[in-house]
Every structure is written in C-alpha cells, then in structure tokens.
C-alpha cells in the first residue's frame, strides 16, 4: 500500500536535521571562543561537508536501494554540481585575482586565453549557476540513462559503464585545454552572493543551507518512495521482467529516478565546494563513487535514513583515522568495513534495526489481527485447505 510521506520516522529525521541546522551555527556564532560549548568554524565546515556527503548518499540510496540500480558514477554528478558552483565562485573573484583580469579567471590568463570560453558564459549570474547545478548532472544522467536503460544494460554492466563515465570525465577535466582549470581545479574563492566565503557567518549559513538541502532531498525521496511510483521501483528491483509483462515501461521509471538522483547529487556537490574551498578533477575519481556506495551499504540500503547515518559515521571515522598515525591504512579499513558489512550486516545499521523491530512487532501477541502479518510457520497453506 502507498504510505504517508510524512510518517513518524521522517518527522523525527527532519526534526533532528532542523535542530542541527539551528544549534551548530548558534554554538559557533553566539558563544565566545572561550566557552567549552563553542563550535569552532573549521568544525562547522567539516560538519557541512558531512551533510553534503549525506545528501550524496541519499541520492545513491534512491536509485540503488529502491530501484536496484547500482550506480558507481554518482561522484561524477556530485563533481559536476561542484564545478558549476565553482565556476560561479571563480567569476565572483573578478579583478581580485593574481593577474587582476576583471573577466578571465587566473588560470585562463596563465594559459594566455584572450576571451571567456562559451561554457563559462552566464556563470557570473547566481541563478544561472544554480540552474546549471541541476541541469548539467540531470542532462548527463538523462542522456546516459536513456541509452543504457533503453538497451537494457543492467546489473554489473551498468555499474561498470558508470565507472567508465566518471573516469572519462576525470581525464577530461584534468586537461588544461578542457577549460576548467586542469588538475588544479577551481579555488581561491573570495565571496558568494557578496558574502566572504571565509567568514564565520557565511560558513554557518552554508552549513544551515546544507541541512535544509538534506531535508528537502529526504522529503523528495519520501514522496517518491511512499507513492505508487516507489512501489513500482521496488517491483522493478524484485522482478524487472514481471513488471514489464504487467505493462510498466520499466525504462521510464529507471530514467526518472536516475535523473532525480543525479540532480540531488549535483546539489550536494554545489554546497560542498564553497565549504571546502576547492573543486578539482580528483572529485571524479572512480574511487569516490565507490566510497559513497559503501556509506549507503553500511547505513542500510533502501532505508533513506540509513544512507545518511552511513555517510555521517563513515566520514567521521575517516576524519578521525586520517588525522592520526594510522592514516595510511584508511583504505584498508574502508575495504574491510565493506566486506564486514556485506558478510555480517547485509541490511546495514538502520536496516538491521528496522528488521528487528518488525520482527518484534510480528511476534508480539496483540500487535495485529489474525489476518494480518501472521508469521510464516503459523500460516496455513490456503491451496491445501478444504
């Protein structure tokens, strides 16, 4: 049956994120640095980065957890959203760059370019840049997905071609003549909408906006998965051929989900860039996409909240780890984590908790009438009856 998008779990989740959006900036801005509760600005930005990763994880959960399509290229949509934001921020530098060219970003002056490439036009306008944050990942997903789903590329083949996609984009963006800053990427941002990107207030605002984006992303996912659209997605995940022979145009559902998911990843990337202060081709690295999938697996695919929990936990662990003496072993730990979760916690953290609770409810004597959810063993075989 279709569900209410705003169920209790969703309200709790939205409440928690909203509280974080208010409390963290308040502790940063309102308390003096001497206070033990003061949150330093670098932590605000670090948390903001986690929230962006959580939104990326959510976008992966929508397509992987519900529709069963394992995209190993979502890092590319994230990076494209990031570049769109980065281009806006570059144009905001204006004449304040090292070369003082009012029109061209430093790296173009350095390359001896005389005019702004076509792809950069319009990026001095914030609304245009925000449109591109959605449109570029969305269009790429539309074209890529249209070909892939129409030719019925599924399973591991789809995963491989998405890896190839992000790898190809990485190589392209590494090239200086591609026009997006080459391997240095885009950096040295000065201000966003007139506010200094380094200022405490701007950082706090960016964190709060990231939280709002995460809430909106979560709501979009809930509306989708709680509707009949979501029922069809799960049907496609379970038995794609069955769904086709019932008359569902499976590729339309997949394509719509893929595009929405890519746009969400793009927004996450766009909010990430001003908080970390740089975007470079390394963000397209195939390993990034795989890492994001691991967050979802750890938290529990197909649960939405699990993606967020997984992204926060794994990234917190990464930060703690890579700042200590064990830093060189982080990738081993991450790989081990993935293997461990796959073997011993296949439902992930949130998935396992949900499963336990569902079990408990089923076993509880007065939880439901006899016609509802009878445990397997107790159910009579209707066909053999009479």
């Amino acid at each position: 049956m279709t569900a209410r998008p705003l169920d209790r779990g969703t309200l709790v989740f939205l409440g928690l994120v909203a509280a974080a959006a208010i409390v963290v900036p308040a502790l940063n801005l309102a308390l003096p640095e001497s206070s033990p509760l003061h949150v330093p600005t670098y932590l605000v930005s670090l948390f903001g980065k986690y929230v962006c990763f959580a939104l990326l994880a959510l976008s992966i959960d929508l397509i992987w957890g519900y529709c069963g399509i394992l995209s190993l290229g979502h890092g590319a949509f994230f990076a494209l959203g990031g570049y769109a934001m980065g281009m806006y921020l570059m144009r905001q530098i204006g004449g304040r760059g090292v070369y003082g060219n009012p029109l061209l970003p430093d790296f173009m002056v350095f390359l001896n370019w005389k005019e702004l490439p076509l792809a950069w036009w319009g990026f001095s306008s914030f609304p245009y840049a925000m449109l591109m944050v959605l449109a570029v990942p969305g269009l790429l997903a539309l074209v890529f997905g249209w070909f892939a789903f129409r030719s019925r590329v599924t399973g591991v083949y789809f995963s491989i071609i998405t890896q190839a996609m992000t790898f190809a984009l990485m190589l392209a963006f590494f090239r200086n003549d591609f026009g997006f800053g080459g391997n240095n990427g885009l950096t040295d941002f000065k201000d966003i909408l007139g506010f200094n990107v380094q200022a405490d207030g701007t950082r706090a605002a960016l964190f709060a906006i990231s939280c709002v984006a995460l809430m909106l992303g979560y709501l979009v996912c809930r509306v989708l998965v709680a509707s009949k659209f979501g029922m069809v997605l799960i049907a496609v995940r379970d038995a794609e051929a069955r769904a086709r022979f019932l008359g569902y145009r499976v590729e339309s559902y997949k394509l719509a989900t893929f595009v929405i998911s890519a746009c969400m990843a793009g927004v996450a990337g766009a909010l990430y860039v001003p908080q970390v202060g740089i975007i470079n081709p390394g963000e397209f690295s195939p390993a990034n996409s795989i890492e994001a999938v691991i967050w979802v697996a750890v938290g529990g695919r197909g649960t939405l909240a699990g993606a967020v929990v997984g992204a926060l936990l794994v990234n917190y662990a990464k930060t703690s780890f890579t700042s200590g003496p064990l830093a060189p072993y982080w990738l081993f730990l991450l790989g081990g984590l993935f293997v461990g979760v796959t073997l011993w916690l296949p439902r992930g953290i949130v998935g396992t908790v949900q499963h336990w609770r569902a079990r408990r409810r089923e076993v509880a004597p007065d939880a439901s009438g006899p016609a509802e959810g009878a445990p397997d063993g107790a159910a009579q075989k209707p066909l053999a009856a009479e």
């Binding site: 049956m1 029922m231 799960i234 049907a235 379970d238 086709r244 022979f245 019932l246 145009r249 499976v250």
Partner: protein, 250 residues
C-alpha cells in the same frame, strides 16, 4: 474446429526462432479463437516457453507473423505495449514481487494507468480495493494478504501470479506450467480455477502434467522440435503414434 484467421484472437503463422543456429521454433503455426482454452504439451525443449516469449514480445521471431485480435502485429511491439493490449503471462518459474505484500502485488497488477508521471499522485479507488479483495478470495490468499510475497510457499506464489493475471484483466492469458510443484489437491483446484477464468477469458496453458491437462478437458496442441506435431482432444493425441513415439520412444 476451423477458425478463419480474421476472427482468431491469436494467430501465429510460420513463426521461426533460432538461437545460434538451433531452431527453437520451426515454422510454428497456431490459431486460438476468442473464448477458447487451449492446452499445449510437449517434451522438454519443444519450444513452448519460446512461443510465449514470441507472443509477449520478449523474443523477436526471425520469420513469421504473429497477430493479436486480428490487427495488432505483435512482432513490432515491446513487452509493455503487448501487456497493455491485453495479454497477460505467468512465467514458468513463479515470479512475484518478493518484498511487496500479497495485496500490493495485486495492486500493482491491477489494470490502470502505468505511466511513471502519474504514479506519484496515484490514489486507490474503492472499486480497486474491492476488486483486490475479490481476487484474493478467488486465489484463496485472503488470510495471507498482508504477508510478504517472498514468504509464500511455491504453490501460493503460483496462485498469486495467476491472481496478478486476473487483476491485469487481459483478454488472453498465457499460463506456463501452473501446477509445477503442486500437490494433487492443489493441481485439481488449479484446473478448476483456470476453467472458471476461461468463462470470461481466452486461456493458453502450457503443462507437462497429463492428469491436469485431462482435467481441463480442452483441445490439446502437441509441440515437438519447434512445430505442431498433433492437435485434438487429449484422447486423440495420446493415441497418435508420433506423439507416443516422441514421449516414450527415441
């Protein structure tokens, strides 16, 4: 019985399908009249499932003509369009949506708008709910309506899939081995169910189980090596020498 092709609900003419040179269907011709129930038998690998694949758009024939309702060329359509035209199919291996409840499986199968665009705002009607309850009665799964389909027994899954066909409300039902893995009692009930369905719909049943085919009491087509070997009542075909040879000899 003779039917003119124009009045046939399903018309296959000289259909051939080959997989890497192996002819799974070899110039197969078959005509199903509206309202008919037809049983299709044949040894393993005779091409029965491949025939259903061709009719439902899963496999494109190399040659031949496949017409539905006299006008629709099924070889030019994809699975979803063919389903919407009114052909429902039960797979040889029971295939239901495991992580959906029994009820939701029927809900997804229920005839109606299939577009992604409108699915987000979809609301269930009272009529649809009643229809689901009545199908649950028919397939005897009322008590299991809220259980996950993945937790059903093999036989229950078979019935659920037949229920999904009913919900889809097609003109023609293609049922591939509906009683595989069922007890005798279940087999008997399935034959009754299909006969009841045939009161309103055209049905093509593929089955190995001879007791079951006998219980259906309808015209039988024997397939062998991708073509029709014999056609007639069950008694006629089981006396046919070539049929006996194919089943027992070799």
């Amino acid at each position: 019985m003779e039917f003119r092709t124009t009045s046939a609900l399903l018309y296959l003419d000289a259909v051939s399908v080959s997989f890497d040179g192996f002819k799974a269907l070899n110039s197969l011709s078959l005509t199903i009249a509206p309202g008919e129930m037809r049983a299709i038998i044949g040894p393993n690998g005779a091409g029965k499932t491949t025939m259903m694949d061709v009719i439902t758009g899963k496999t494109r024939p190399d040659e031949g003509e496949v017409l539905f309702d006299g006008t629709h060329d099924l070889t030019a359509l994809d699975e979803a369009s063919i389903a919407v035209l009114g052909i429902g199919r039960k797979f040889q291996k029971p295939t239901v949506f495991d992580s959906h409840t029994v009820e939701d499986n029927l809900r997804l199968a229920l005839a109606g708008d299939r577009r992604a665009r409108t699915a987000i705002a979809w609301r269930e009607t009272v009529a649809a709910r009643e229809r689901i309850s009545s199908i649950l009665e028919t397939i005897r799964l009322t008590a299991a309506r809220s259980r996950l389909a993945g937790n059903l027994s093999h036989g229950q899954k078979q019935w659920l899939e037949i229920g999904m066909l009913l919900a889809q409300d097609p003109k023609l039902l293609l049922v591939d081995e509906p009683v595989a893995g069922m007890t005798d009692a279940e087999t008997h009930q399935t034959a009754e169910l299909l006969r009841a369905i045939n009161a309103e719909k055209t049905v093509v049943v593929v089955e190995h189980d001879m007791t079951f085919v006998r219980a259906l009491g309808v015209k039988v087509t024997v397939l062998h090596e991708g073509r029709v070997l014999a056609e007639g009542s069950i008694d006629q075909v089981s006396e046919n020498e070539r049929v006996v040879e194919v089943y027992l000899g070799r």
